[in-house]
């Protein structure tokens, strides 16, 4: 439990808490980005550099921007006026219950008591070979899924036929 | 092949870039202003100035306060008060002279109409443009003393135009003197017995004669 880990965990939890409770949606989105970045830093702190940097690249680079675009387009920019939630007590009870369940499951797990195994020397090359040998079918499946998703998004965004002329030159 | 237009453009700017080092004379179009100055063309005009002959700006001022330029000036930026007294002009004929002659250079648009309409070649266009001043009101309101400049300055900045003006004025002077000499001779002949003291010409001003006929400007 080094000092750095406590610091990073605090940053991530704090940003996540802020992302949930802030009234101004844009601030909440930026705090979400902060928590995702914090998560990436924790991976790096645990010497899983590839995973941490990939997390930062994918989440902070792309997913966060999409969330921000969504916030912009859905008129979410006025701060929330009404109450945050209709029944805070019910919400609180559920979270306490869930937290207790999680803590129980973690404490019961055998891995906690076993000595921490030596960190496996995983090289990027090994990850690459693993991906293209053992997991090649799921990799291609995900690729197909993503292509379908982008095509779908493009089709939705296309202006309805004849509704208004596209603004690009003929 | 698409993309060749962009390459052509890049080649053009590269030629200019290299050209500015190899032969800067043609390529660098700008000069370092305060240190180097561009030679102004002879016809260049900035703001008007009053011309005076000889050395004394008061006596030699050509302007006879006829106020033609004041009437003709499009933005009406000339202000003249005629003096009561008279002084002899270059042919010796007593003429009025301006007691006050102001030009508000902040209003003047250097259109040079005053020079065209002036029958006495009294106002010409100067080439001095460094008149910046911090005083917004009186700073650019030039009075007679600041406007008057010697004929030599006129000859320096507009050589050809000054040359023509001087030859024309010299011709008028001879004509005036010839007329005066004839008139004097006639007066002497008609009143031979009575030796009227001929009005001895002062050192500088020749005998009185009919005023120079205002010939249309060149």
């Amino acid at each position: 439990m080094s000092v750095l880990f406590v610091l990073l965990a605090g940053l991530t939890l704090g940003a996540a808490w802020a992302a949930v409770t802030l009234r101004n949606l844009v601030h909440a989105a930026l705090c979400l980005i902060g928590s995702l970045a914090g998560l990436g830093l924790i991976y790096i702190q645990l010497d899983a550099e590839f995973l941490g940097l990939a997390q930062i690249l994918v989440y902070v680079g792309a997913v966060a921007i999409l969330i921000v675009f969504a916030v912009m387009l859905v008129r979410g920019t006025e701060p929330l006026v009404g109450r945050l939630s209709t029944s805070p007590w019910l919400g609180g009870a559920i979270t306490v219950l869930l937290a207790a369940l999680l803590l129980w499951a973690v404490s019961k797990s055998p891995r906690l008591r076993a000595p921490t195994p030596p960190a496996p020397t995983v090289t990027v090359k090994a990850i690459g070979q693993q991906l293209t040998r053992d997991y090649v079918v799921p990799l291609q499946g995900i690729g197909l899924l993503l292509t379908a998703a982008t095509l779908g998004a493009a089709l939705i965004a296309l202006p309805r036929r004849g509704s208004n002329p596209p603004s690009t030159p003929p | 092949m698409t993309g060749s237009g962009i390459l052509q453009g890049l080649a053009e700017t590269a030629k200019n870039f290299v050209g500015s080092f190899t032969h800067p004379a043609e390529n660098l179009a700008t000069i370092e202003y305060p240190e180097q100055r561009q030679k102004l063309a002879e016809n260049t005009r900035q703001f008007p100035f009053l011309v005076f002959d000889g050395t004394d700006p008061e006596a030699g001022l050509r302007c006879v306060a006829c106020q033609i330029c004041e009437k003709e000036c499009p933005p009406q930026c000339i202000y003249i008060i005629k003096s009561k007294a008279k002084k002899p002009d270059f042919v010796g004929k007593p003429q009025f002279f301006p007691a006050v002659f102001d030009i508000d250079l902040s209003v003047c648009m250097s259109c040079q109409i005053c020079v065209e309409v002036c029958p006495f070649d009294a106002i010409k266009m100067d080439q001095d443009f460094e008149l910046a001043t911090s005083d917004r009101f009186q700073g650019l309101l030039f009075h007679k003393d600041r406007l008057a400049k010697p004929n030599s300055h006129f000859q320096k900045i507009h050589p050809t135009e000054a040359g023509e003006t001087d030859t024309r004025r010299a011709a008028d002077l001879e004509k005036a003197q010839a007329a005066a000499a004839k008139a004097a001779a006639a007066a002497a002949a008609s009143a031979k017995p009575v030796a009227t003291p001929a009005n001895s010409p002062e050192a500088k001003n020749p005998p009185p004669a009919s005023p120079a006929a205002g010939t249309p400007p060149m």
Binding site: H27, E49, F50, L53, V68, P169, P170 | T2, F17, A29
Partner: protein, 392 residues
């Protein structure tokens, strides 16, 4: 040769040696950070002056030559001017974001420099496994800063500029990463030092095996430069701060030192991407010929960086700006397919290693040329040559 080449390294060892053992890792890290944070902002200062002088020379005028010897103290004048300018924050601005945005735009490029190998074993942070990934991960967070700047100003123009900037950054990040991946594919490792190592193999007549000297390398480098111009908002793609349309894009509402910080961030981003381009395609700190390595290696790196900066300034002095939808169309329908084909040809190049060199070159170059012509045909058809008739 060796002493001058390793001068920075030996200097650092001397200074670190003075301190007690416990502190030494910290001190050497601090020295590396200090060096990076000194060299590149100084290069930024020099580039602002160089940019105006080169643009001036292109436009038949000498450029700034009054402040300091031949105008080279102009950056000091600009710096002092931006420091003394009043820092105005608009009333309905989002104060916190408004303040943080310039930081989020400036810090990532500085982080990205740590991974670039500037000279022979002169790299601040040698990540053997994930060098390139670190570079792109850090580079990606600039977009968040751009959004914060555009949004927090609360001004229509800066919002339009931020939207444009984000769309441009995202759609040009793809060709940038893919053209870099082509090099990773052939080098076999993500580490930038390994990439330079691989390019140090000696070909014919002492020529170092830069990636540029291969058909896929040339096309990859051109794609990389185009995408880099878009990433750094440079000339044909400087849409986000298109003065003639929306005043100054996402930093309309900034003045004083924050505006100068954005300027610094933009230039550091340009240096970072150029540095990466040099490491990937131009053989990092390697001289083109082996018999040229008496010049110190870090001088080669900064020489190439200067050449690339001159190229971008040259572009800025020549080309007009693309419109937003044309920019997007160019990225998705021309640049991306060309990058994918280039990756394919690189793979082909790798597996035809033992073929006759000429035939191998002809095959790859032919494929790439055919791809270029096929992809640029819609553009040629959309804008045919025009002829003009003359009435008597």
């Amino acid at each position: 040769m060796n002493t001058l080449d390793q001068l920075p390294e030996t200097l650092k060892d001397h200074v670190v040696g003075v301190f007690p053992a416990g502190l030494q890792p910290w001190i050497s890290a601090l020295l590396a950070i200090g060096a990076l944070c000194a060299i590149f902002p100084a290069l930024f200062a020099l580039t602002t002056v160089l940019e105006r002088k080169i643009l001036g020379r292109i436009q038949n005028r000498p450029g700034p030559n009054r402040v300091g010897p031949a105008g080279f103290l102009q950056f000091a004048a600009d710096g002092i001017k931006s420091l003394t300018k009043e820092d105005i924050v608009p009333r309905n601005a989002d104060r916190l974001l408004h303040f943080l945005a310039p930081l989020v735009v400036v810090i990532p490029p500085l982080l990205a420099f740590s991974v670039l190998p500037i000279g022979r074993n002169l790299v601040a942070l040698d990540l053997p496994e994930t060098g390139l990934l670190f570079f792109f991960a850090v580079g990606a967070s600039v977009e968040v800063g751009v959004f914060m700047a555009g949004w927090s100003g609360g001004n229509k123009y800066s919002l339009l500029g931020a939207m444009r900037a984000l769309a441009q950054l995202i759609s040009y990040e793809l060709p940038l990463i893919l053209s870099a991946l082509t090099v990773v594919m052939l080098t076999g490792s993500l580490s930038l030092v390994a990439m330079v190592e691989k390019q140090s193999a000696v070909q014919v007549a002492g020529l170092h095996a830069w990636n540029l000297f291969t058909p896929w390398g040339v096309v990859g480098f051109l794609i990389f430069l185009t995408a880099a111009a878009a990433e750094a908002n440079r000339s044909p793609f400087d849409l986000p701060e298109a003065e003639s349309e929306i005043i100054a894009g996402y930093f309309t509402e900034y003045s004083g030192f924050k505006f100068a910080l954005f300027f610094l961030g933009e230039y550091l981003g340009l240096f970072a991407v150029c540095g990466l381009g040099i490491t990937l395609f131009l053989g990092g700190w390697l001289p083109p010929f082996t018999w040229l390595n008496w010049i110190p290696s870090w001088l080669w790196f900064f020489g190439k960086l200067g050449a690339l900066i001159f190229f971008f300034i040259w572009l800025r002095g020549t080309l007009p700006r693309l419109r937003m939808d044309q920019l997007m169309q160019f990225a998705w329908t021309f640049l991306l397919p060309l990058t994918l084909i280039n990756a394919f040809v690189a793979g082909l190049w790798h597996f035809t290693a033992d073929w006759n060199v000429l035939f191998r070159w002809a095959l790859s170059a032919g494929l790439l040329a055919a791809a270029y012509v096929a992809l640029s045909r819609p553009f040629a058809r959309a804008f045919p040559r025009r002829t003009y008739r003359f009435a008597p």
